[in-house]
Symmetry: C2
Subunit: 338 residues, 2 copies
């Protein structure tokens, strides 16, 4: 079932079949039809490896996702889905690589085995060895999130600083004077996880501007950690009446702790966050949040990457997204003691 077989059965040379298929040279209508018939009959499709070898491109994109897959947040999942969809629209396949460091075998295979034409990397750190690796290998890439050298690379990111600021403004407008930030884990922050750092900056700035008091807490990405964190907040800072957060995975636990403490949301306690829209709507009560446009980001990333593959030496492009806050049912005016 190779091109030679098709050529033999339709009585032409292999090159003619190739040209009939690609249209890069003229082939008479009669031969073209004859070839097409044979192809349809045998259900022939060119071997991807052979084509990739000759053309020097694989028509495949790599998507590097965080390792230990089970822990993908809803937002990340939405993003992955949208990358797949966008790639499928332009007939590109997607190779997934669950890897964190730059010594990961799967990552190495993809990058230096030239299995893909370009790579999208999620969950970027401020100093990210994968970025360095990709640059060294000369592999086109787009990151979700940006490094400490943002001007050097192509990326799409969410403006966490602005979004957390908006959360704080919103809460302050509602009369909350003591607000906590539930950030992501201390380990992530220490590792230079950008969104965490920028959420911190935005929080600090907004708190200062509105002259409210703000305390930051780091919290691992799961419900039990959220529960423990919220307990700690209530315990150490009983004056706090609202939280802003970028840690959606912790929220079920946060909610549980508030419930146990008898603090109704939003009656006695408000929560504003940054989360995937779908997730925010399924949360109970529905979450007031900046709805991260994960779907849009995915197709944006694919577009940028395709552009980059075509023009590897053009100036890197970036997109910083700052979606507005959707008001739902998890925030309300600060409780005034009767």
């Amino acid at each position: 079932m190779n091109i030679g077989e098709i050529a033999r059965r339709s009585g032409v040379s292999r090159s003619t079949v190739s040209y009939a298929l690609s249209g890069k040279r003229t082939v008479s209508e009669a031969t073209r039809r004859r070839i097409q018939e044979v192809i349809d009959e045998l259900d022939y499709r060119p071997n991807a490896a052979a084509r990739a070898l000759k053309e020097g491109r694989t028509r495949t994109l790599g998507l590097v996702i965080p390792p230990a897959g089970g822990r993908l947040t809803y937002m990340q999942l939405e993003f992955v889905a949208s990358v797949l969809e966008a790639a499928a629209r332009v007939d590109l396949d997607v190779l997934l690589s669950p890897s964190g460091g730059d010594h990961d075998r799967s990552f190495e295979r993809i990058v230096s085995g030239r299995r893909v034409d370009g790579v999208i990397v999620m969950e970027i750190r401020l100093e990210d060895p994968r970025v360095t690796r990709l640059q060294k290998a000369g592999m086109p890439f787009v990151t979700i999130g940006h490094t400490a050298q943002p001007h050097e690379t192509c990326w799409v990111d969410v403006d966490y600083a602005t979004l957390i600021s908006r959360c704080v403004y919103h809460l302050a407008d509602l009369g909350h004077h003591h607000i906590a930030l539930i950030n992501r884990s201390a380990e992530l922050l220490a590792a230079g996880y950008g969104p965490g750092h920028r959420a911190r900056e935005g929080f600090t700035a907004a708190v200062e501007q509105r002259a409210v008091t703000g305390v930051e807490f780091c919290c691992a990405d799961d419900a039990p950690a959220g529960e423990a964190c919220m307990e700690q907040i209530l315990d150490a800072h009983p004056e706090i009446t609202a939280v802003a957060t970028i840690n959606e995975a912790a929220l079920p636990g946060v909610q549980r702790a508030l419930e146990r403490a008898g603090l109704d949301v939003p009656g006695r306690f408000s929560i504003a966050g940054v989360a995937a829209k779908h997730w925010a709507e399924e949360f109970r009560p529905q979450l007031t949040a900046a709805d991260v446009p994960a779907l849009e980001m995915g197709s944006l990333a694919v577009d940028l990457l395709i552009e980059r593959i075509a023009e590897p030496n053009a100036a890197p492009k970036h997109r910083l997204l700052a979606p507005p806050i959707s008001l739902r049912s998890s925030t309300a005016p600060a409780f005034a003691a009767p």
Copy 2:
């Protein structure tokens, strides 16, 4: 940076480099070291396409997931993650194809372009065109879920009939006499979606055996549909005090409807389901459920597939999993009017 370059720089032939790398023939220790040095220096790795072309295998698996538009359930997500992990452990890459029918371009590329050595297909229907297509193409595959001809193919599946039966037994043991089944959508059922049909069978059988009354409801896979469905149940069958379900995505809505009706879970109403463990634990109240071992299923599927690729003509193997129910906080004895 190809094998010829390495050969030239280390003063040997290309074949010697190849043998030094694969170890398929003896290469003197001295030359091997010399070659390795050059390789390390240039950071060389064999071109995947060239290797695939010559060897006739790609060292890549295909994973066919439901079309990207539809949302993956938490269970499906866990499964995808575990496939990725299991494949990475044995140095295989994974190509994702979000496709439903057999005419999907991405599916066709993977199957007849021989981009992968084998395929794992999720969300199998009783009559599934993709299975037919794969059989015709002679591509090794493993399905998650099985078709109406289960003996013909390799598959891994959850024994939904048994699990739903166990839910019903558990609820009946707690004194519930009127139980609803919240199945998945009527469209899916009509399309021959296996888990839906087997849940129905298990439910019918268990209800009969325990002499309780059971009513089945179909419900789309999202919270709003779950809410509407639960409202309908309460409205049309006020005697019902418990539901069993395989529709995890509908549960947040179900819960919301019960809350609005003032029915405390599990005090006044019980819920037992089939769901991913992590999901069941994050649900409030924690869900009594048969914890689908999605992680185990993923690596099982990869193992079966690798076996199948090695021996395409061996008798197909199957695995039907029936995990026990984990008792959590969403079920309690039927409410007895005071």
